[in-house]
Amino acid sequence: MTANTQEAPATATTDRIDKRVELRAPRSRVWRAISDAREFETWFHMKIDGDFAAGRTVHGKVQNKRFEDANPIEITIERIEPERYFSYRWHPFALDPKVDYSVEPTTLVEFTIDEAPDGCVVTIVESGFDNIPLARRAEAFKMNEGGWNGQAKNLTAYVA
C-alpha cells in the first residue's frame, strides 16, 4: 500500500514536521499501539526499557544491525491524555556512540488521535528542530540514510 500520510500546508518553517495519517482501526486500538510501550516498540522498531508514564524517562534502543553500537536514546514522556494525546521529548536519531547528546536540546514529539468516518486520524508533530545544531541534523540524515526505509519494508513483509 502506498503512503497515505499528508504534509500539513506548506510553511517556511524549518522547526517542525507535521504528519497526518488516516487509519482504518478503532481509536482504542490506535491508542494502545501508541501509548503502550510494548506495542510502540513493535512497530517503531525500538526496544524500550520500561513503561510509558507521564514524567518518566525510558531508554529506546533502535533495532537495526547498523546501529548495534549506538547508545539507547533517552525518551521523556511529557503528557498522556488517554485515547487522545501522547507526547514525549527525545534527541532525534541520536545514534552516534561517540556523541554526548544529553547536552543538546530535545525535540517534542506529539501524537494526537481524532475520530474519522472509517476509523481515526493520527497527527504526528515533531518540533524544536531549530534548536538542534545543524551538524547534528546532518548526522541524523547520515545515520538514517537507507536504514529506516529498509526497516519499513521489513515490517510490511512481516505483518503481510
Binding site: 500500500m1 482504518r24 522498531h45 526505509n149 510490511t156 505483518v159
Partner: protein, 115 residues
C-alpha cells in the same frame, strides 16, 4: 561510506549560513517575493515594505552571502533573483527526518490495521 560522509560534511558546512540567513522575517519575505515574482530590482523590493532601500540592500547582501540570491546588472539597474539550489539544500535535512516519519506512520498503519 567514507566517501559519502565527505560529501555530506561539505553539504553541512554549506547549510549553516543558509539557515542563519533565513532566520529573519524581512529576509524570508524577500525570498517569498523573489520566488513568486521572479527577479526584482531593489526599488521594487522596497516598495510598500516600510523598510528603507539601504536596509533591503543589507538583507539582500546577507542572503547573497549565504548563496540564496544573486544579483546581476540589467541595463542601468541591479536585479536580484533566487539561487534555488541552495534553498533546496536547506530543506534537504528536514526532508530526511520527514521521510522517516512517513515510514514510521506506515508501520503504525500496518500494525493497527492488520489485526
Amino acid at each position: 561510506m567514507s566517501r559519502s560522509r565527505g560529501n555530506l560534511a561539505l553539504k553541512v558546512s554549506e547549510a549553516v549560513p543558509v539557515f542563519a540567513a533565513l532566520a529573519d522575517p524581512t529576509r524570508l519575505t524577500l525570498i517569498g517575493r523573489l520566488s513568486v515574482e521572479g527577479p526584482l530590482s531593489i526599488t521594487h523590493l522596497s516598495e510598500g515594505t516600510g523598510v528603507t532601500r539601504q536596509a533591503i540592500t543589507r538583507h539582500l547582501t546577507s542572503l547573497g552571502d549565504a548563496g540564496l540570491v544573486r544579483d546581476s546588472r540589467r541595463g542601468r539597474e541591479r536585479v536580484w533573483e533566487l539561487d534555488l539550489k541552495r534553498l533546496e539544500k536547506a530543506r534537504y535535512f528536514l526532508d530526511q527526518i520527514s521521510a522517516q516519519w512517513d515510514d514510521a506512520a506506515e508501520r503504525l498503519r500496518a500494525f493497527v490495521e492488520e489485526e
